[in-house]
Symmetry: C2
Subunit: 400 residues, 2 copies
């Protein structure tokens, strides 16, 4: 008998909850908590009280409050789908209650746009000593992209040398400007300086200054921009043969124009400004005027294509493969009332949780996705809505 | 002996105060009031306590508070350089205390972007009965452009038929995006639908949808967009021979791009949005992140060119003239520490006030600028930093 506590009730959480609800063999009892309990209640009503057994209000910034909640629910696993700022208080609460932990994005301090695993990796000994497990970054990217890398290294190469993760949203939501997940988190991430791994060190680029025009399966050619993404940090650590590791994301001209205007006038800043006697963070206010990403699903057409190009050596010869998934916005909406960006994050969270609960991926300590056997995860991706394909490429598509 | 009370302490007020301070023959005693008294104190310190005799904090939204202030200062004239929202409370306070009134922009209700004189014209009988005078719109546009029209009608034509007011800021302040006066007021104005007078009725256009490329003296060709501007309303009323009256303002592509992005995502809206449990008007928050227009003066280069094209009949023949002023941002900064947009509004406010105080323009009631003899005003423009020129044109430069 297994019991999960899911913290968070946004677009991603809604997908994870609905997917877990359909799999009683993995998830006997589901409990939901979020700052706004009405969002949990709405989800419970949609999914059914036989599957979502209870809902709670919780301030996930407050470790003591989360600890009390865990003591009340007594889950086998906490699935953290709240904000990245809240990873550490939730990990603290798991430690205090000897409870396993899973998240989909690494911790960020709220007052600094800094993306690295140092804070969470620092929990390694504590989790090990307590005999509990934390699985970090079980979304799509990070998450599935890490598993793709492990899968390629296991089945296709003797040694991997070059890694390029590509993330293309070829969808159209019909809005002037909207982010596909929490605008605050999204804009913090893409306005930072670019960073990639080469020959044993990190190299920096100006934000979105390096571009490749790449051809995406079932979408076409899209301008793709080099940026830092958190899985690079763990992947280069766990695959030390990599000579270079980069991450690319597609952005349309209209999106970039909006971003540059908003950044140029200071609306994406996380430095508070004086407003009518109070201090307000411009990026937080911007979030309030932009569409809620959860609201984009209706009428969203087109597909995402996210995957990993890997070049390496097999039997003495160099070769390149591309492992990828296409995810259709409209089909996701039909299945679970969500757009593909929520879906591609929410499903892997469910899969990671299922593998932890059934003991397939189970070891005390703090782990990244590529550290476990990729095969059972890859199998579940095919079964639960995120089928993948492997292309053998004639050559790498990158000109730089 | 004359005494003025100036309400407001922004960029325009700073120009008016400094100009008045240099003319003791017109302004014996100057008093300043604003919501933020520290701004008045700073101006007093700059100009000298011998000229600015006293400073006060006042909430100009509150007619009773303004009335008490007027009773304390006992000015001969109140110069209102506060926000357009505050015209009516200040007029009420003038009525209650039998004090003359001058402003530079017509009343706007705060919750509606509506630009018309109806509210202020409704005070006509009350001001007449009280034997006091209100001079409306004594800035550049409205203000000088109205006087240009009256001057042309008096000296150059038997009958005027076509009027086109053009407002070009050919300056460069080096900022990604900034408005040259209060961003809230500026953006409310330029995002509204276009409107012009033709054959006895108002015609509407989509916002900034009608464009002419016009050649501005000492600046060059600039894209100019048809928009409504408040002086059109009073000018077509007082010059009923006009067959058409339009207003054009220049905007650069980068400015329009910023405006469209901000409007598209709702940042220019005056409808409050929910933010952390309170209601905040996006346009007011935008104002807080944009540069203070007063801060643009330093390093602002280039000129403005604002003027009036008039086509009409003289001695049976059709002809067109252009009356205009060029104003240099850097020279304004050198003279009074302000940019040209503040300067071109602040100087005419001083001139209107001087003409009222010395009895040249003096009649009980509520008046627009074009209703008085333009000659003394035109003369003072030449003397006080805003010299004008009359060009006889071979033909109208407008293609539409």
């Amino acid at each position: 008998m297994s019991r999960v506590l899911i913290i968070g009730a946004g677009g991603v959480a809604s997908v994870t909850v609905k997917k877990c609800a359909r799999l009683p063999q993995h998830f006997d009892e589901i409990y939901l908590a979020s700052r706004t309990v009405s969002k949990c209640e709405a989800l419970q009503q949609e999914v059914g009280a036989d599957r979502v057994k209870g809902v709670f209000a919780v301030d996930a910034d407050n470790a003591k409050e989360v600890e009390a909640l865990i003591n009340e629910v007594k889950p086998d696993l906490v699935i953290n789908l709240a904000l990245p700022y809240q990873d550490l208080p939730i990990m603290d609460a798991c430690l205090a209650t000897n409870t396993d932990y899973l998240d989909t994005a690494n911790y960020e301090p709220k007052d600094e746009a800094k993306f690295e695993y140092s804070w969470q990796w620092a929990y390694q000994d504590k989790f090990k000593d307590a005999g509990i497990m934390a699985l970090l970054g079980s979304g799509f990217d990070p998450g599935v992209t890490n598993v793709y890398t492990a899968y390629a290294a296991k089945h296709y190469f003797d040694e991997i040398h070059y890694l390029d993760i590509v993330d293309c949203n070829g969808g159209d939501h019909g809005q002037a400007f909207a982010t596909n997940f929490n605008p605050e988190i999204n804009i913090r991430e893409i306005t930072q300086r670019g960073r990639y791994w080469e020959n044993g060190e990190w190299k920096e680029t100006d934000p979105l200054s390096v571009r490749e025009d790449l051809d995406y399966q079932n979408i076409g050619v899209r301008a793709s921009y080099l940026m830092f993404h958190e899985e690079l940090e763990s992947i280069v650590k766990h695959f030390p043969t990599l000579k270079r590791a980069r991450f690319w994301m597609t952005f349309g001209d209209a999106y970039l124009n909006h971003l540059r205007v908003l950044e140029g006038i200071g609306m994406t800043s996380i430095e508070p400004v004086e407003f009518q006697g109070q201090k307000i963070v411009p990026l937080e206010f911007l979030k309030a005027v932009l569409p809620n990403p959860g609201s984009l699903a209706e009428g969203y057409s087109g597909m995402t294509c996210i995957g990993t190009y890997i070049t390496g050596i097999k039997d003495g010869k160099e070769k390149t493969i591309f492992i990828y998934n296409n995810c259709d916005h409209a089909k996701c909406n039909e299945e679970v009332g969500a757009q593909a960006v929520s879906y591609t994050t929410g499903v892997p969270a469910m899969i990671g949780a299922a593998l932890m609960l059934n003991g397939t991926w189970k070891e005390a300590g703090v782990w990244n996705m590529e550290q476990f056997d990729p095969d059972p995860f890859m199998e579940m991706l095919n079964e639960h809505g995120l089928p993948w394909h492997v292309l053998e490429c004639e050559s790498s598509p990158f000109t730089k």
